[in-house]
Amino acid sequence: MSEDDIGLALQMRNVRKRFPGTIAVDDVSFEVYAGEVHALVGENGAGKSTLMKMLAGSFDDYEGQIFINSKEVKLHAPTTAKKYGIGMIYQELSLARPISIVENLLAGRLPRKGLLLDKAAARKQALALLKRVGLEIDPDLPIEDISPHEAQLVEIAKVLGNNPCILVMDEPTSALSREEVERLFAIIDTLRKRGIAIVYISHHLPEIFRIADRVTVMRDGKKIATKAIGEISREEIVQMMVGRSVKEFYKRDERQIGDTRLKVSGLSRFGFFHDVAFEAKQGETLGICGLSGAGRTELARVLVGLDRADEGRIELDGHEVQGRSMAEFLEKGIAYLTEDRKIEGLALRLAVDENILAPIVDRLSSSAVYSKSKGKSLIERLVAELAIYPPDPGRTVGNLSGGNQQKVLLAKWLASAPKVLILDEPTRGVDIGAKMTIHASIEKLAREGCTVILISSDLPELVGLSDRVLIMRKGHFTREMQYQECSEESLLLAANGDAAYGAVVGSAGEANGATAAGSAR
């Protein structure tokens, strides 16, 4: 052990993990100091998640060495990893839905008095943990009765409860509101001061510049570089991630905006959103901006016939759209790309072509006999247009990378040739390359006259793509902004509906500002 190793909480030396046919992590060395927030970035499929799973003890056959506090350990089971003080906050929640918050927080280590459970102590411990993440909630409620972002905070509290010395966070902010993100950053700061080593995985570069001390970039299973955050710029990180320089992200072309296509008036689904009214024109991209839980997805579900409105009217090209099922809305030309890719979006077990043709099964058949070959040229065109890799329509979707899965999802809705396409978080969690392709495709779609309704939490995306943005807050439309007035800051403030709040997000806003300037206007 050399002098340098002192203070190293985690050291992974030349680790490698093979899967049948690929090497997911190839000879990576990675170090994290105690009291450091170390960002880990890379496109999807770069090997970040595999590297962290290794740390979590998910594999018993990795190669290389792992040292924790300068002692070599074999992390071959999650229990071992936990024993060495490694805590993981996963992107997908790992909570048991029917179980109470208390038991979720203290799973596996419920306090005992002798042989029996000590319920009072359990409750007390749970409340203390919830307080650390600033969540005030009855801890006896089951997870299924609380909202998704509350659940995300419970998840964080749960991992903190294990007193980890190394904490891994994989996209912890994806389900959180801005306010909650700030709270999380405050928590991370306290943890850092207490000497905990934190690995922070995120696609959100402003977040990284805000919170990280050092950053490691991975690409294709290899480590590209580790740099102190002050010594590197956004553009350099992006360049290292994609391995090529990124041109300007958004270019606004001339757009032909036509007549009113979709007209919504007085639309309500009680308890979810009330009195929503707007018009969207042919060839227009209409952004909807709001915090999570503002009712954006619920609105989309009603617009496509998945849920029924309690009041109000939806008109398409001057005719009222009515129907009991999504199939009827789809037939009239209203399509919906869901926020959730893996369960609601794609049939992961089926092939690329089967997924893409799913919405047009009826259209490809004549008198109930299905003809897949009719869709062949369409598939080929879409696979080429979206650069789906590998370009093989017979490939099982579950084996594609996240970015390519998202492209398949978009291809599926492009195939249905909609008049109105509602996109709910079309680029969540995908790498930059896929994002660019998807954006180009959305712009092309609008140019061809389709009305695009874009629901997104990715502010640069909203600013860059929308002609107009509607602000949704707590179930109401509160404001409409033309693209000239849109910037990340203005949208953020409007979505939060609170002028004073601007001070709190100021620093995040600055980092975001760089993107706003970068995106062509």
């Binding site: 993981m88 048991a96 179980i99 799973a107 596996g108």
Partner: protein
Amino acid sequence: MHRPGKKNLLALGDKFRIYILFVLVFAFMSLFAPRFFNVFNLTSLLKSISMNASVAIGFTIVMICGQLDLSIGTVITFAGVLVLGLQPSLGFTAAAVVAVIAGGLVGWLNGLLVTKGKINSFIVTLGTMTILQGAIYQFSGGNSISVSTPEAFVVSDFLGKSLIPLVTPRILISLILVAIMEFVLRRTRAGRNFYIVGGNRSTAWLAGIHTDRYTIVAFVLSSVGAAIGGVFSVLESTSATLKLGENSLMYVISATIIGGTAMSGGKGGVLRSVIAILTLEMLYTGIILFGLGNEVKIFIAGLILAYVVLYEAYATWKHEKSLGQRPELMKELAERAALAARPASAE
């Protein structure tokens, strides 16, 4: 401050559904059914549930773990046939022990196939059910087994004689088993772990809980409970028919679901299931006491199970629909309704 839990009257009623139902049925039968409310009838009521009560214990735990055990009915018969078949050579105690152990082995096999073999529990237990059915007929030659030695009658008399009013040793055994398991499930860490395993396997796994072990134990408990039920039932009646456990599967499934144990796992309790069994038995006894036939009983039993499954499905459907409703919007709605109502009332 703390967001209050859903503790309105309706939710409370739902939570204590089975206890309320029990009281209602008991009151109704006591008042209206002829010859219902007397020590003799109530004792025989308790006697007739003691088998299914012990079966329900383990079955409930399997359901809490998020699995299904269709083999319980045949395990009952299997254990019953085994104890009387082996008794001449082994004696009562050893035969009973062997039968219960054999039952436990079936459960262990079920659990092993589900966890290590990674086969759906529905398939596994449907398979072991068929195998056991064959084994039962093989072992018994297709006939009922009965014993009529004086010794057998001594055992039978002992098990069936009231210690205090309403309680015979066999009833007592079932009650003790229920009490122990209810206590374990509620108040020990191991007990709570069954819920966590059923609620979300990966949560449990990540928390260092041996999910496979708990699942196997659940299946063993299920089969052991069924075997104990079968053994004591046979010992008291001194005969084992091949239809002994025939109706238990549906009886116990109904009761467990009526008792509020979730089909998807992670929720429920042993006592609730047993109270549900008692409620069902009162209902069936009542049907017979009112002079209606066995066919009515079968019909009603099916109807109750169907109703409960339907109700659960409907409630989940409804719950999912309203998930994520914003309270302040609902308030706004109420205010709007009040506003609309006011001018009308003023006029």
